[in-house]
């Protein structure tokens, strides 16, 4: 097609070969291109770059803020965990101490109770012993006088009758019992 056109172009007076550039077109292209380049560089690109930079800064700022918040939260959590561990430890220590104290108190009380019981027992023993001694002393005195009385009565009555004697002794004992009552 182009070759036939070239032949045609050669025949025609006007040159229509599209492959031959026209100087004015190159010049106009360069001028317009230069102007567009200059204006874009001065007006458009700085604005776009500014928007980019600000957006990047905003996003990075947001990320940094989030990271700081996360760090803070983590620190707080660590602190709480530490406090919790401390409290647990303390509670365990207190429990242990209480257990020890309780055991001690029980032991003390037991010892005290035993001592008291021993004291009471020994007091009772002493009292019983004293009462017995008193009764015995009293009895000794009374037995003497009663023997004397009984002998007197036996002597006062006729001593020949065994049965009578026996009755006398029984009577005496009954009297003795009555007087004792």
């Amino acid at each position: 097609m182009i070759t036939s056109r070239l032949a045609l172009a050669a025949a025609e007076p006007e040159d229509t070969n599209p492959l031959i550039p026209h100087t004015p077109e190159i010049v106009i292209s360069l001028i317009v291109f230069g102007l567009i380049f200059f204006l874009l560089k001065k007006l458009v690109i700085p604005a776009f770059e500014k928007a980019y930079a600000e957006r990047t800064a905003a996003i990075e700022g947001g990320i940094e803020e989030a990271q700081a918040a996360q760090k803070e939260a983590k620190a707080a959590l660590d602190q709480y965990n530490e406090q919790l561990a401390g409290a647990r430890h303390e509670a365990a220590a207190i429990r242990e101490e209480a257990k020890e104290q309780g055991a001690q108190i029980i032991a003390e009380l037991r010892a005290q109770a035993q001592a008291e019981a021993e004291r009471i027992t020994s007091t009772a023993h002493a009292q019983v012993e004293a009462e017995r001694a008193q009764v015995l002393a009293q009895l000794k005195g009374e037995v003497g006088s009663m023997a004397t009385q009984l002998a007197g009565r036996i002597v006062g009555e006729s001593l020949d009758d065994d049965a009578r004697q026996k009755r006398t002794v029984e009577r005496f004992i009954a009297e003795l019992e009555e007087s004792a009552n």
């Binding site: 172009a9 204006l39 874009l40 458009v44």
Partner: protein, 266 residues
């Protein structure tokens, strides 16, 4: 194209679209100098690009509005998707304004091809892409020479890493040809030719369609004209993709050349 269409509607001759259709008559004259449609379109792109993007960039808000978001999408695409990927995060910022300008300049001038009433891709005139290709050539070679010195840069671009001995006699001229001489030409031709061919296809199918539907007496003209018109629409959609891709490729290759010129090793 619209001009051609109206001019054609009067006559009943079958259309024969060709390179001549790209040689539009001057819209007006300043002295001897004829101002053509693509010249006006290229100048218009200055106002479109700067007006649109300064409006979108002005708020410079941390939370962008709809306009700013759209602008940032395009800017971020060139800045991060193209420049940083290919040049590396250490040095790419210096080249972002240049690459951003290439992308928008090529994109807008390509999209003119499908914009109602404008309907002419300025990049289908070889002078416009050639100018940017020369700029890119200056930029990447300049960056390399500034970093490595003239001879150091020449060695960096022409001697492949790990190569030794007589093979270099073959490789060095080849590398010089491909890395230094041909790059501006391929950049120019790729953009120019796709825009040229795309626009030519659109002219062909739309003019052909309208001729077949309106002026032909052939019995097959009606279905052929319908298919031709439908193809014109389909190709328009394809062109949207190609127009974007060419802007992307031009920017991408420029950034790759810069990245390569600055790279420490091959």
């Amino acid at each position: 194209m619209t001009l051609a269409l109206t001019a054609f509607a009067a006559s009943a001759e079958p259309p024969s679209p060709g390179p001549a259709d790209f040689d539009l008559p001057a819209v007006f004259h300043i002295g001897e100098f004829g101002v053509t449609k693509p010249m006006l379109l290229v100048v218009l792109s200055l106002f479109v690009i700067v007006g649109l993007f300064s409006t979108m960039a002005r708020p410079a808000a941390v939370v962008p509005g709809r306009m700013q978001f759209a602008g940032e999408l395009v800017y971020g695409f060139v800045r991060n998707g193209i420049a940083r990927e290919n040049i590396g995060s250490a040095e790419f910022m210096r080249f972002v304004p240049y690459l951003f300008t290439i992308f928008l300049f090529v994109l807008v001038n390509n999209f003119y091809g499908l914009f109602p009433f404008l309907q002419f891709p300025s990049m289908s005139h070889i002078g416009y892409p050639l100018a940017i290709a020369i700029l890119s050539w200056l930029v990447y070679n300049g960056a390399g020479i500034k970093k490595k010195g003239f001879l150091g840069y020449l060695k960096h671009e022409t001697v492949p890493g790990g190569m030794k001995g007589p093979i270099l006699i073959l490789l060095v001229p080849l590398e010089f040809l491909s890395n230094i001489l041909l790059r501006p030409i391929t950049l120019t031709l790729r953009l120019f030719a796709t825009m040229f061919a795309g626009h030519l296809l659109l002219i062909l199918f739309s003019l052909g369609g309208s001729y077949l539907l309106l002026h032909s007496d052939n019995s097959l003209a009606l279905p052929a004209g319908l298919v031709s018109s439908l193809l014109a629409i389909a190709i328009s959609f394809l062109e949207i993709l190609i127009m974007f891709l060419q802007a992307y490729v031009f920017t991408l290759l420029s950034s790759m050349y810069i990245g390569e010129a600055l790279a420490d090793e091959h």
